[in-house]
């Protein structure tokens, strides 16, 4: 399993039976391949009950997700306008959101919509970070150049303050706690020192540090 799918599969384990959740573009969108069938997916343009990617005759221009991908709605799906869709998000009806990040800070701040010299916009991320009951960041631990993405303080424009609950990466799982960042799971073959060397804040190592499941 490649790292991106490995991250998505682990992030999906935070969902509970019957949850309605929203998945961001990229790694998070793969979470839907690893969930209980009772989980309902929202697309923020205006539908709950997003099913599998549509093929052939099932392709229909009025079932497309927020990224423009055609899907097949599941039984019990509902459609509504985008204003309604964000009323659902802001009012805390969304059990969880999984999204990517450019930077995450020790206190749970997240930055994922602009970097120096390049602004691409936040889309629905600010509303989701504020409104979803659980915010799960699914990302690679460092940048492609190996620079840390988990920092003492974000340097890029913030998406939201102190909202992140869990950070799932290809090497570890880190929880954001009032005491600081806690390393709770680690990939087989890695040591807590390996992880610490790739993040800026000092990690608290969980007493019951677990090895991440490979299969």
């Amino acid at each position: 399993m490649d790292n991106r799918r490995f991250i998505a599969r682990r992030a999906a384990q935070y969902f509970n039976e019957g949850d309605t959740v929203n998945l961001g573009i990229g790694i998070p969108s793969a979470c839907s391949d690893y969930v209980d069938p009772t989980i309902a997916f929202q697309t923020e343009n205006g539908m709950i009950g997003v099913g599998p990617v549509a093929k052939k005759l099932a392709i229909c221009d009025t079932y497309q997700n927020a990224g423009g991908i055609n899907f097949v709605p599941v039984m019990g799906a509902s459609a509504f306008d985008t204003a309604y869709s964000f009323a659902v998000i802001r009012s805390g009806r969304m059990a969880a959101t999984v999204l990517g990040a450019l930077q995450v800070a020790e206190n749970g701040d997240i930055a994922n919509w602009a970097s120096p010299g390049r602004a691409f916009g936040m889309g629905g991320a600010m509303d989701l970070c504020n409104g979803a009951r659980k915010v799960i960041v699914a990302m690679e631990l460092t940048t492609k150049k190996g620079e840390p993405k988990i920092l003492k303080k974000c340097t890029y424009p913030l998406t939201a303050q102190g909202c992140v609950n869990h950070i799932v990466t290809e090497q570890c799982v880190i929880d954001v706690t009032p005491e600081g960042l806690k390393l709770v799971e680690i990939r087989a073959g890695k040591t807590p020192e390996d992880i610490q060397a790739q993040v800026e804040p000092t990690l608290i190592i969980a007493d019951d540090l677990k090895i991440m499941d490979e299969e």
């Binding site: 343009n45 539908m47 497309q64 709605p73 204003a83 964000f86 916009g121 509303d127 504020n130 424009p157």
Partner: protein, 239 residues
């Protein structure tokens, strides 16, 4: 004659509504279910210095991006231009002004523009750059909110599944999206419908936008049967 055709208008009549400097609200997201024909007319009209309000900037080479590439757009009020490197480049070069809002705040600003509301309070964006230049309101329970003001456009270009001669509108699936909100927020609301229906063919319970919000309808019956195929081609060409 006027009564028989209801609110259906010709390309020429619709294009006569477009003027330089207008603020234009456009429905649709991620290049999906856009009002293609109306966007073609806006492009063909050649009007300039437009402010475009839309969820995103689509992909280079089609829809909203074509207006940007033609130099017809001075400013975008939007939530995301990540799929459009042309818009990002113009923004970086200072040739395109872009005002970003969180998607929930953006769509609510447009909704308020059509609902006679001056603005609303939201926690979204608290503690971020979204606070800059905006009023922060503390409510009686001590919670801090950003005051976001309504946006009202000159013209709205949207699409619906069904419309009747009066201009009652009904939608389907994610073809709803931002369309019913955008259709209410402008002085002139122009709607492209896939299916032009007889009066009462749309059940009153299915009407999402009542007719008084709608000024003009566009339908091309010759092409209706091929509309989905045509959209797919447009998308493929745009990608």
């Amino acid at each position: 004659m006027e009564i028989e055709r209801g609110k259906v208008r010709t390309r020429e009549e619709i294009m006569a509504c477009f003027k330089d400097g207008q603020t234009i609200a456009i429905g649709g997201q991620a290049g999906a279910y856009m009002p293609w024909d109306l966007l073609d007319m806006l492009e063909e009209s050649g009007v300039k210095h437009l402010t475009i309000c839309s969820i995103d900037a689509c992909n280079p080479g089609f829809a909203i991006s074509r207006l940007i590439e033609n130099g017809q757009v001075d400013k975008m009020i939007t939530t995301h231009i990540g799929t459009n490197p042309v818009a990002q480049k113009l923004l970086a070069e200072g040739k395109l002004e872009v005002e970003f809002f969180p998607m929930g705040s953006f769509i609510e600003k447009m909704r308020d523009g059509g609902a006679g509301i001056g603005g609303f309070l939201t926690k979204t964006g608290i503690g971020t750059d979204m606070e800059k230049g905006k009023q922060i309101v503390t409510t009686s329970d001590g919670e801090r909110y950003i005051l976001e003001e309504a946006i009202h456009a000159d013209v709205a270009l949207t699409r619906c599944r069904r419309a009747d001669p009066l201009g009652n509108l009904a939608y389907h699936g994610t073809g709803t999206a931002s369309h019913p909100v955008m259709a209410t927020c402008a002085d002139i609301s122009i709607v492209q419908c896939d299916l032009y229906c007889d009066l009462n063919e749309i059940s009153p319970d299915d009407v999402k936008v009542p007719a008084m919000y709608v000024d003009m309808l566009y339908t091309d019956s010759r092409e209706q049967n091929h509309i989905i195929g045509r959209i797919k081609r447009n998308q493929l060409e745009g990608m």
